[in-house]
Symmetry: none
Amino acid sequence: MNECSFILIAPFRRLWRSVISTRGKTNGSKYQLILEAAIKVFARRGFYQTTISQIAREAGVADGTIYLYFKNKDDILVQFFTYKTRQVFSGFREELNRGVNAVEKLRNLIRRHLEEFQRDRDMALVYHAVTRQQDRLVKKEIKEISKMYLDIVAEIVEQGQAEGVMRKDLYMSLVKRYILGAVDEIINTWLHSGGKYDLVSMADPLIDLFIRGIGNTDEIEKNISEAAPPPSDNTDKS
Amino acid sequence: MNECSFILIAPFRRLWRSVISTRGKTNGSKYQLILEAAIKVFARRGFYQTTISQIAREAGVADGTIYLYFKNKDDILVQFFTYKTRQVFSGFREELNRGVNAVEKLRNLIRRHLEEFQRDRDMALVYHAVTRQQDRLVKKEIKEISKMYLDIVAEIVEQGQAEGVMRKDLYMSLVKRYILGAVDEIINTWLHSGGKYDLVSMADPLIDLFIRGIGNTDEIEKNISEAAPPPSDNTDKS
Amino acid sequence: MNECSFILIAPFRRLWRSVISTRGKTNGSKYQLILEAAIKVFARRGFYQTTISQIAREAGVADGTIYLYFKNKDDILVQFFTYKTRQVFSGFREELNRGVNAVEKLRNLIRRHLEEFQRDRDMALVYHAVTRQQDRLVKKEIKEISKMYLDIVAEIVEQGQAEGVMRKDLYMSLVKRYILGAVDEIINTWLHSGGKYDLVSMADPLIDLFIRGIGNTDEIEKNISEAAPPPSDNTDKS
Amino acid sequence: MNECSFILIAPFRRLWRSVISTRGKTNGSKYQLILEAAIKVFARRGFYQTTISQIAREAGVADGTIYLYFKNKDDILVQFFTYKTRQVFSGFREELNRGVNAVEKLRNLIRRHLEEFQRDRDMALVYHAVTRQQDRLVKKEIKEISKMYLDIVAEIVEQGQAEGVMRKDLYMSLVKRYILGAVDEIINTWLHSGGKYDLVSMADPLIDLFIRGIGNTDEIEKNISEAAPPPSDNTDKS
DNA sequence: AATGAATGAGCGTTCATTCAT
DNA sequence: GATGAATGAACGCTCATTCAT
């Protein structure tokens, strides 16, 4: 999916020439303006607490203008997920090409993850809130994005196993969530701290935990239970 | 579960005599009835999508009756967090007394965590959704609960370090989130899968990951970065 | 269809006891209050020009109250047609039992028609306006009511033919409309005159026209074309 | 159809020179284009349910363009009545010159009426709906048009009385409505049937009803329809 | 002249909350 | 205590109209 395909769909009442002249996702387009304003307000107040008027005010447009670019309020969130968020997560895949070995790739992935979420705190806040809601106006999109991420992690771990640097007795569907969950929580903590410290610096110590765990390998590991045999892989349901 | 402790806090609009005379069942149970009905509906539809009428219908009472036990809609959520959720998390502390060593204690904690959330899926759904929302009607409560949990983990890890079974070069505030985050994500996956498989069985393999990580310790660890020295612990802001 | 069946459906959030105590269609029930207020405003401004607020103000209730008794704005109109109007038209059927011969029955029907519409001018205005609109929120209801009326006329005319006082070479589906149309236009003229004169007094001269036509029977009717043979009866479609 | 007569009245916002220079086609037709598009949409959806955008789309022009030719949405309806409808009704007057006697003239009038409304079903639908609405943006126009029609009928009937073929004891203002109403209802039935059958063929049987009524004037005669020589066929379909 | 993006007043509808019974 | 009818502020959304291009 390229950026263009999205831009062409969005401002559905505008002529092609104006679309073309504003195709950059950065700004200039009123579609972008509104979308970013919306995310900003969603981040501050939550989706359901946000009114169209607040978004319009934030974007500096009239209420009605929003409906020239979005079908309704829900659609703003959907657009956010199908465009902005998906793009960020798609970008994570690039990290597979950057490291030479699995550990480097994992580190790059996580660093990139933290970088992107630090760069766009509003996106991060909305993403975090919406993905844990039940109603899921964006169920499909979240599922897809989530799968995208977990697949990348799985690929990296499999490579690590092939390289011999990662254990072979891993319950993969658990590992994926173990990593995603920890990163997610680090981000969550940062978000609710007000984003005051550097998030990216957490990447290296976190990778260290992922690889080595918290156990002391010098010690005889008498207390550590053997890895339970992976049950049937039914954690992939969502 | 000590009903009294909650009764004394919650229905501040009721006269004491009626509280005392009815704590066993008749009226005390109506507070409970409504609270549980509310959580059930919140779990299904989300807090903001739930109407007072829906709660009343679920509880089998009139709309107005809810206002005899709760100040307003928000208060229901607050009560849920100050009573029900806090109680669950307080219970986790018991696990500190049950294992003989740190690893056992950690396993007990996580198993208990998964057990409780599996036992009460509605609570889990509401807890998960609300803790990631921005508005945070229950900011204070969530912070407190979260701290409670993180403190328990910290105590366990510190004990593990004293026992020599856990690494001493751990960035503690990160470790706490690393563990909480992974457990959280496992639960989240389970929740969105529809709760169809056994959550508690995830405990052991997860503990294994926490302790040993995903790295192959037999291998020369040339690729693993040295643990970055923990920066000043500023992730504890919230 | 009796009156009760309608009353029982309408105020759907009220308990039976209150329904029973207000079952009279006259007033007392808030449902009636609102319905009559609505018709009054519809009559004055037209359906689409009428706002819920105007109806509420006319009825002396809050806007929201209307939605306790009606599903939405359209439903008010539907209720008006399924209840009030249908009742009036059902009443016309009684006239079949009152006259001894066909001409008397026709006169009674038309007199009753004019009486009812004169008695409730608001009903008449709304009925006249809505039955000629395209959108037809109440397509089904209008069709049914209209058929009810046309059938009564047909019965009367058939009786008249049996009695020998009415021509046998009548194109029945045309006759029905000929009569209904003329009565309708008389009412329409009265409505737009402001309802200043007595409508019922039009009944007798109108009946005379129906029966005798405008032609002078003393004259040799050389100019009158023979009745065209009735085409296939496809005017009954609506 | 004299286009000029309407051009001079209607587009009061256009400069005279452009009117003169373009009366043939280019600009004059855009006014027409929009007006016809509007009537088409009004016919389908009703006036208040129609948006300017829908009219613009139907006409193939921009929304704003409509305001170059019409003051506002209401004005489109006003123009329709002051131009198009009035023109049709004015045309009815021609029929006074075509028949040799009153009955012929009446038949010609009614046939013409049915022809015109059958020819332009959209006009018929809008005319029928609007004339029964209360708001009456076009009160004055409707009254004028209506009077025009009723006057024609009155003249014909008076002639018929002078000729001795029509009764002298007629309540004229009633007779006029009696005829208009019946024709109107015949058209209304046709409109709501979807316009599937031939409307004009209703003219002769209807005239027969107007003249002779439904009564059996010669009780002795069983078969009324003796063959009178048909008048010269001047009702050519043109 | 023609456009169509932009506007914002106004509408139908919802729902948390109140209060008379 | 318990009820649920009543309230009315507030929201999402529409659409006639304007105006810069």
